[in-house]
Subunit: 343 residues, 2 copies
DNA sequence: TTGAAAGCGCTACCAA
DNA sequence: TTGGTAGCGCTTTCAA
């Protein structure tokens, strides 16, 4: 290879025209050989395929997207890549879309509303076939832009609120209520919500709210909040827990915003000699892989994450093909382990 | 908004021409106002900006990329999204690129070589400004395609082998040797390498090889391998460990391919009453967040992952701007905790 | 400082 | 079953 190209020189990429002239047909026949193979004579089709193979032709999808009606890009906007939940969602979403030749364009807002606006604008500038975005609580301008774009929008992870087009997610408030119920039923009386909660983590706030309501309904005292904006890490869980128990020594049940935070909480409790689950019950969120391996193993909530990615892909495809918009409630289960008493 | 558009109807997106006619200038003045602002009168520039703001104009980057020379897309090809290492790399990479208005297009091969080829082809069809890809061991056609594309290629995570253009990563063989040394120095005598190792996980194979060589150099018996192709999960670690010790009861040192696998190994050892680190030493790879929280806390290797993303972005930018190609060795450290004896 | 015109590589429509 | 022709929305000369 290389031929008369200078070594290291970027050769001008091949075009459909290069293939066409080599095979001796028009550009447009080559295009159809790719896009609508059955409108091209089989023999010719083979010749074209052979030429493409030999020349290592790679189509220019920028041109294709511009000329055509769709761009085969699906924009995916997440708030974090560190939560294994979101990694799992992206993983299944990407591989499900691949079957339809849709490419994922990724953006990560890191829970920053201005970043979200900038990124959504950027994503839309690629004229995506669809956009999948974490959450239903957006920068107002984001909702406006998405709505006005005419592009199918799938909101993921949360279904509690105004939905732009379609959504696939959990009812986080119900999760929070279930976490509280679990602790209350096991005799814990003074509950706290603890974790890394960013200003724009509406899901965490919904879980805390669901918990709060359940606690009040049970006639117990209000939930104590112990949260910080910095990112989630066991060290943060440890320091929040130590601080919490210093201020509120009566706390005997802790709902954590994530399993990773819970790991730090358990470490803190071990250090100060509190027994789990006897003295204090701890419950996480997310069912991280390590949660069944720590001591004590962590009671937590497991969202059906693989399904979120898959269902989002399905919904996106349906919408792209003019299907109706829809809201899909994804299942989750409370996994009882040894960090909370058994009934 | 809406005007004479049917509700729910996707309005045709605005173009530069819409802005131009509204302001009463030519298309190309508007284009220059965006691309080379100082060639446009300040007042006019403001009017144009105002019109764009009011009409919610979103540029069409497909058109821009086609007409221009670059596409502002950076293709990112990973082998998995589940390893938090790769999530961390993507996170920093994406946010570093954002500053230069480069957008990440994501592809996930799931350790499948055919998938890799398909995805790389697909990525190249977007005429990316650069491609960042995990590993240096690719499907031969992949290397050929990448090399021939003329696009700057940054190989990430591994630097042990033939590099297409530039690389930012670790010397995995050295890591494996260090893991073995750590165990040998602490008196462990019969070592095993254990984990989920996919056929195309060349990095794991390099670590195993480095370990092997170190063990032979110490005059100890060869490393016992206990691996499976299925994906990494504590349950796999547990079953591999149980199996390993049934076949080789003399094993007293286990190097795991990932921390997550190590979690399962520790669980297995607890179940069969082996004491860690007294009877058996266990060392992981990756320094997962939970590793300092399990019991016993896990000795492991921590690659400087944030730096890989950042340095990859820097290298990509440099290459895009005609800088020289380079290979960057990224640091890592062995973190000693309680799953191996102290010296 | 601005505008006119040509074209990036492809798809889509219509005619052959 | 094939080819001609006209754009898609932008950038990029080159002139004015």
């Amino acid at each position: 290879m290389g031929g008369d190209i200078e070594p290291g020189e970027a050769r001008a990429p091949l075009t459909l025209a290069s293939i066409a002239s080599r095979v001796g047909v028009s550009v447009n026949t080559v295009s159809r050989a790719l896009r609508a193979p059955n409108t091209v004579r089989a023999e010719l089709r083979r010749e074209i395929a052979k030429a493409m193979e030999e020349l290592n032709y790679v189509p220019n999808r920028l041109a294709g997207g511009l000329a055509g009606t769709r761009s085969d890009i699906v924009g995916v906007v997440v708030t974090s890549l560190y939560y294994s939940e979101f990694a799992a969602i992206i993983d299944t979403l990407q591989s499900s879309l691949l079957a339809s030749n849709l490419q994922v364009m990724l953006a990560n807002t890191r829970y920053d509303a201005d970043q979200e606006l900038k990124l959504v604008r950027s994503i839309l500038s690629w004229r995506p076939a669809a956009v999948a975005i974490i959450g239903v609580d957006h920068h107002p301008k984001v909702s406006e832009l998405l709505r006005a774009s005419g592009v199918p929008i799938i909101e993921m992870w949360d279904i509690g609120g105004d939905i732009i087009d379609s959504a696939v997610g959990l009812d986080h408030q119900a999760v929070g209520a279930a976490q509280a119920s679990h602790l209350i039923e096991r005799g814990y009386k003074s509950l706290a919500f603890l974790g890394s909660v960013r200003e724009n983590d509406a899901r965490a706030q919904k879980r805390a709210k669901g918990m709060q309501q359940r606690v009040l309904a049970a006639g117990l005292q209000a939930v104590t909040m112990a949260t910080k904006q910095e990112s989630g890490h066991p060290d943060l869980g440890e320091s929040l827990a130590l601080d919490l128990l210093k201020r509120h020594p009566d706390i005997d049940g802790i709902v954590c915003n994530s399993d990773v935070i819970a790991f730090g909480v358990l470490r803190a409790l071990a250090k100060i000699g509190k027994r789990v689950p006897e003295d204090i019950g701890v419950i996480g969120f997310g069912d991280s892989e390590a949660s069944s391996c720590i001591t004590p193993s962590l009671t937590t909530v497991r969202p059906d994450r693989e399904n979120i990615g898959r269902l989002t892909a399905e919904t996106a495809l349906a919408r792209i093909n003019d299907g109706a918009s829809r809201t899909v409630r994804v299942e989750w289960q409370l996994i009882e382990r040894n960090s909370t008493r058994s009934v």
